[in-house]
Amino acid sequence: MTQKNRLQGGQVDTTTTCKFKFDGKSYTAHSGDTLASALLANGVRLMGRSFKYHRPRGVLSAGSEEPNALVELRNGARQEPNTRATTIEMFDGLSANSQNRLGSLRFDLLAINDRFSNFLAAGFYYKTFMWPAAFWEKIYEPIIRKAAGLGSLSLQDDPDVYDKGFLHCDLLIIGAGPAGLMAALTAGRAGANVILADEDFRMGGRLNSETFSIDDAAGADWAAATVAELANLPNVRLMSRTTVIGAFDHGIYGAVERVSDHLPTPEVGKPRQVLWRIYTKQTVLAAGAIERPIAFENNDRPGIMLASSIRSYANRFAVAADQRVAVFTNNDDGHRTAADLHAKGVKISAVVDVRADAPRSHDYEVLHGEVVNTKGRLGLAFAEVKLADGTMRVLECGALGMAGGWNPNVHMTCHQRGRPAWNEDIAAFVPGGALPPGMSVAGAANGAFSTYAALTSGAAAAQKALGLKGRLPATPQAEDAPVNLKPFWYVEGCSRAWLDLQNDVTVKDVKLSHQEGFRSVEHLKRYTTLGMATDQGKTSNMGGLAIMAELAGKAIPEVGTTIFRPPYTPTAIGVLAGRHRGQEFHPKRLTPSHRWAEEQGAVFVEVGNWLRAQWFPRAGETHWRETVDREVLATRKSVGVCDVTTLGKVDVQGADAADFLNKIYCNGFAKLAVGKTRYGLMLREDGIAMDDGTAARLAEDHFVVTTTTANALPVYRHMEFVRQCLFPDMDVQLISTTEAWAQYAVAGPNSRKLLEKIVDQDISNDAFPFMACANITICGGLRARLFRISFSGELAYEIAVPSAYGDALMRRIIEVGAEFDVTPYGTEALGVMRIEKGHAAGNELNGTTTAQNLGMGRMVSKKKDSIGSTLSEREGLNAEGDVRQVGIRPVNPDDPVPAGAHLMNATGPVDAGHDQGYATSACFSPNLGHAIALGFLKDGANRMGEKMRLVSPLTGIDVQVEIVSAHFVDPEGERLRA
């Protein structure tokens, strides 16, 4: 098919031809086209369907404000719903499909909705679908949901990558039209670090769409020359295809650069888009203005467009919106559309102007009147005009430009809750009130609509922002036409006259909203959905406000606006996530023995960001339990080794180190001897257990504190808080050393014998008794640390070496331990052994348990001040019969005792009112041959031996259990001290 509406000139590259498909049909275009311009060039006006009534829709605008021409761009996993045809850059092979239709675009079965529109007025759904109650979810809602929505996601994983980045500048200029370019020139020449960002792929703004001259050059040529000069300044960064999406606090702006969207697919390794966080000292907003439509009956047919966009298509893209064009205007600007298209040889049916004193033309007819209706099934064919004298005229036209005046793009001036101000001269909101700090506004965004005013204000804004002294640079010569406009929002008596084209909100709906008392602009928006479409009301809100104001008998500024929110244009969720998805969602933390564990075939488990070996399956083992049981039994029988590097480690030094530990632990540390380790329980200030671990005193003024894996960071933060904010003059220094040391637990009756083969010093029971610690050397001189502590309840040690030697140490332990059948064990066996031993861990230290609950109430020293000690004494935390940690075992050894199950009395009701407690941690104990659990039980200390029910209705479990001591294995702790 030929491009029947293609004109001469413009800024498309007619030497290249791109093939593209829309709804499966092939067309040609040129590079420099958008999908919208290419379709118009090919005579395609029907591009979409409206949200509610499924009315046929064509393109309204030539920019990112487009509400109508939304398509599904690309196919397969790259399918991108709701993409504005007006911003899709043409490339060879482009493929797009229309959306939100049942059947074809021409014969959308859901267009039936339009026939019933009278029943589907604003808010109708709030008043019906209530009976019978069950029908809402079963019948009505599924139908509504299916019909609603716009485009579809492919539901395949997005194959593209997205990047994030950070930029710093003195001046960010948003928008590269005449004002933005002039601001950039002024600031760039002055040597400031400047970022100039524009959402378009071609900088120049309206200069590309108008036939104005600047000095002696065409506006577009001046823009190109200016961009070329800026590109040569090393201190200016030009960012086209970059939308600034929001103004955040303290001069931080979000911007999305579409790096690859103009390509068929991104190059390998290259991002599709980049999210930039721009830190700027000052900002010039030069975002231009958006033309507004006029509401009249059936003003939504394909072919009815913003008058300025008809100019854009003609002047920039060399496309006639149709071969017969009419204009409906309330201001002088609309006449430019007729003049420009006439000059390009397009037939002007007429310019209809609501003003009696409209400028006349020799080239085309100017009518004083209003467009009162239109006709045409899938596109505009005729416009009906009511002339001022009351007579009717019918204009034959395939395109009708609406010129209702311009709205400055104040969006970003309001991102920090500023409200715009009303400017009577242009009948529009302009930036007002409190702008985001550091922001100034130039050009049409500030209501300065002439090219000359834009250029001047751009230069002035840059000068002011940078505090430059001296005279403004000379402004080039440019048109400086005044705004001659008669506010005109809608044609009297119209009803189905569209305000929000996408959401199908008409003048009638606004009237109904007012009638029903939804009169605040926010109520109007929420009740009618006006302005809630993908354009967020850029082309619709103003008309709605004006009508509401009229109905309420108020001035427009009294009615006010809804709130402008980021993002300025809808932003891919993918780019906001950047690379942090899939395996890269969070960084991985690997222990020094990770590679070795992989070689052993270990199964890993996520613990925070750590990956830890969960168990080490051996050939022939068919179930993880088999593996874990073996690891536990082997450890308790001989010796096992487990990587415990992930435990948090904090180096605490200084003359007041012991006093400091006395503050952060509820139990005492002042008297701990050098060379000894002590268990410590840390409370939050509210008296609840925060974390536990050990503190090893390596010297009078040097401790190594361990935390649980999960709490390493919050505990460190807390310790710094105590140090800096509460006791600022203690001589104590903290630093995390979690990752500096590879640390392994070596546990079991043969652990000493094994370590004696590695450690250079005497570690006999006398020389190195239970809870001893020391700096040692191993393997003939490597510095190391040894702690005789035990989580498993066995004779056990933890040995630490600098991380770089962690791999080698693990291999050495396995090598020298072969004679003891040393068994590596993972977190699961670790967990089994600690449950067998009754040690509390994360499931017990759940942020609501007290030392008392844990059976450690007596540890809270009353003789000293420690964090949490005072509030731990509150009555609610010391109530009679409060829960205590207990052991739970099944009466029938084959029964499970799952964590999360609740304890109930053996007889009596099973409900929340009779809840006695719950199981916190559970496992199968290979030593006892049945499942065991730890739990919290009301008055638990006094209920040893009691038979109870453990119920988990969620998982269908109800078993008889016995309450026992939490110390299932070696309750006297003899093995530890062996």
Binding site: Y125, E137, S154, L155, D157, E516, L576, N843, R874, S952
Partner: protein, 416 residues
Amino acid sequence: MRYSGLRVIKEALTGHKGWQPAWRDPEPQAAYDIVIIGGGGHGLATAYYLAKEFGQKRIAVLEKGWIGGGNVGRNTTIIRSNYLLDGNEPFYEFSLKLWEGLEQDFNYNAMISQRGILNLIHSDAQRDAFTRRGNAMILNGADAEMLSTEQIKARYPFLNTDDARFPIKGGLAQHRGGTVRHDAVAWGYARGADSHGVDIIQNCEVTGFRIANGKCTGVETTRGFIGAGKVGCAVAGSSSRLMSHAGMRLPMESHVLQAFVSEGLKPVLPGVITFGAGHFYCSQSDKGGLVFGGDIDGYNSYAQRGNLPVVEDVCEGGMAIFPSFGRARLLRMWGGIMDMSMDGSPIIDRTETEGLYFNGGWCYGGFKATPASGYCFAHLLAKDAPHPTATAYRFDRFEKGRMIDEKGMGNQPNLH
């Protein structure tokens, strides 16, 4: 005027001329028996139940702006009763039951849609905790189901189960959970309250309390003094500001919570889903937008807007579980101000001033609580005794050490 399908048809055929304002716009009277401060969901629901269920007369709701303009119009519309602790679960289950009959009760279609909520599980410890929670729900008479990864994958085949940094290991579902058209809740309660004679007075900001001899006798407003037998405050987000006029310091901080909606999409998500290894939850509105959110920004704020780091954090969470959402576009982000309390649970209680009652501290869970909060607050105002499901929501629980701390984060509001 009663709403019904027949009425809609009749009006459609007669030019929609018969529709009346959904609520009156009365001038404030000199005094009321009960004045409710706050025309949000909770305040309007309180007035509605006071009038309808507790036979109270002469009630006014004072709203500083437009009704429904606070958090009831800014939330992510989720309802559920998947709570753990004794002090909470019966209350939220009561609320869910009220939701289930609400539309017929107040004759307004709030699009209550019980398409279910699913909390994903990513670790054994999380499974243990959710098992305990699910059991607590069932023992309290609510519904809960533990789903396997396979069951979840069948329901959400596009969930990331193959290449996840934190693999999905199951999920706790509450099928009676779901979503509600949030604005319609405010409007439905307003219309219902109005029809029972409640005066809803918009653009009327309370600037002070008149307190004499330990008793509150009314409120100073931008529209003059309004006398009151009892005053109930339900202005979550602004609680500290309001109650400071009564000389109170509250156990809470105000924080901004952001929420997000995508462009409209054809249906992909049937119910609500929450990520358990990051900050992200999501549902899809009837209109087609993905409605999602995550963590609070984390600093005290009254600004009703947030910042980029949380936006990115939430979208990272979204992409972690739904890698296909990358090509959907975020349409709008906004913020609401939360009363973040010291244990993550609310307060519905008398104050030390006679005649002055308080409802607040809802953290980010206030929307789902709306019916029960209104009902229980009405109960307290009408009978001077707490409703049986709300006995634990007292001011003095912090001093006495009886916190209701679901997350176990202690007295740090931004962690709840």
